[in-house]
Amino acid sequence: SPSGAPAVGAPQRGGRLRAAFAGGGSAEVLDPHDCDLYVEIARAKALFDKLADYGNDMSPQPRLAERWEPAADLLTWRITLRQAAFHDGRPVRAADVLHSYARITEPGSSRRAKSSLSVIDLPGSRAVDDRTIEFRLKRPYAEFPNALATLGAYIIPEGTTDFARPVGSGPFKLKSFEPGRAFLGERNPDYFDGAPLLDELEIVVTNDEAARVNALLGKQVEYANDLTLTSARTYEAGGQIRVLRLPRSNFHGLAMKVDRPPFDRPELREAMFHLIDREELVRSVLQGSGQVGNDVYGQGYRYYAEMPQRKQDLNRARDLVRKAGAEGMTIDFDTSDASTGLKEAALAISDQARQIGLNLNVRLGNKDTYWSDIAKNSVLASYRSGGMPLDSHFSQRLLTTSTTNNTAWRRPEFDALYNTAQSTLDERGRAEIYARMQRQLFEEGGFVWWGVSDWIVGSAPNVGGIDDASPANTLNWARFDKVWLA
């Protein structure tokens, strides 16, 4: 159960908690399979459950699934459901799970969880009984539970097609919903994980961070998601609101395309590794409140491999630039306002690059389409990632088959290592392979993860039970069934 933030007395029942999130305007829907924005995830979390969810180190934790047992070949997984019911009283059955996954992966869908779940050979999978499912996979997948925990893999009752008034198994039942404005849920007394303490949960939407802070300060809400580092520093000391920093939530980096000039020269990539003054970036971009990264994704997560910490070494970087024949070269450096820190990092890094005679020309791209724009065209882009298991990071971004391979890192031997890892039942063996993969990335990969920062949430002083040790995207983030109002 979530470890409480600074105690606000004992847990206590009752009241309505109002939480402010950024949102997507009038186009928002309650379909949990379509969720993409943080507010949609928060609402889905309130109304639905997944079979599993991520723990604080991104390892899968059972939720609706009581346990999972792979066969030795890692191709067949038997999942046992716990006793849980939907809001209308129907039990959560194996058929509901199969229906949900079928809906997510149906041809032509663009649902978020589709790529993770498509490893399942659904026709070959079956409901053994109401509470047991046997999944048949298309290939061995040792980290299959990660797929169950993946974003958007929520379980809906079989046959649901309309999500105007959705029925889920989550801690709150829907009372009302106005897209782009407000969501109201009431306590589900029969929640399998214990009835929520709150009577009601209201989620309001505003994209303006200042407005979220103001609403919190003005006691219009008791919880505000996604505050800036600046706001955190501004209000931390005042005591008017409580600032919670969820660690290991944002990974800040650079993405270089390794398959085309100029970053097809490993020397130049290495030059970038040595060029970057990570301390300065953490000091200025992260306002001194993050950790220095070591160029590999997933610090603090399960399977993360520690390596000697890199430091800025301008002489070495200069040498490498010379070796790469890139002295005085001008390289376009894409960034945008799509996420906080992207632009600042780009500006700071281009200033650093100037010291070794590299001219990084910062281009501010359109923030709405930044991620798809850089996928195609950019050679060097400011990058950011939320938390996910290393497995997902590899499979989504670094395999030849990956759909969002933004560094164009396509290495057969790397793919092979990944596949070996997924066929390795033994965790230690898997960790070793993962470490080899990470070393390869550390030495010549296209990503430079220079820093890790917190996810910042604000709450009224009288809110208890918010877990401030869980990174964003994990089970306990934006979770309100253990929260109370003092």
């Binding site: 600046t230 000091r283 281009s350 650093q352 501010l364």
Partner: protein, 265 residues
Amino acid sequence: MIKYLLPGALVAVPVVLALLGPLLASEDTTKDVAFLLGGGHLFGTDFLGRDVANEVLLGGRSLVITALTATACTYLLAVPMGLVAGMTRSRLLDEVLMRPLDVLLALPSMLMLLLLAALAPGNMWVLVGVVVLINLPDVVRISRAAALSLSTRPAVEAMRLQGEHRARIAVSYVARAMRRTLAADLGTRLTGAIYLAASASFLGVGVAPGASDWAAMVDRNRSGLFLQPWAVVVPAVLVVVLSVGVNLLFDRWLRNRDVNFLEAR
């Protein structure tokens, strides 16, 4: 002369700072903690941990030049158009000039900015063009309306009977008769142009994202207002001082002209 002292000083401080500032600024790019108050920095640090005082020195030139150019271009285009539309006796010409501008007005300016940002980012002239395009219809409408009521005066008729060229009537009489209105509008429009330039740079047109620019500073350091007000307050005050100064200068000048004028008759 003494009457011009205060407004003159108000204009001079930001303008001199803008023009000479870059010569005094340091080129050091090391960064401190963002939004730091003090810490060896006169006005603290900005959103990137840069020294605000240094940014202020750097950030005036482009802004003052863009805003002045854009406002000047707007007026050079708009006033003649407004005069023609307001003074012409041909209804057709009037409509031909005005209706397309209405279309321009009806296009949400944000969309226009977004488009131009996508088409030609990072170019100061595009920025000037955008600011001109957005302000043009307004100024044309204002000058047309003013010209409309002036153009039927007997004085204008008399000039027409003298075979005066329409342009000369417009310049030597109509434009003069509405100079106060134009001056009032010009003063506020200059201020508007400064911020338009800044918000355009926010969208990626014009000022490069990292470039120092007072208006952009105001915008980019806004989140740190309570941590470190100087990064917003100093450039904002400079902009305020500049625009108040310009307007007071206009007022003073017009009033002086009037006094001279009254005394001369």
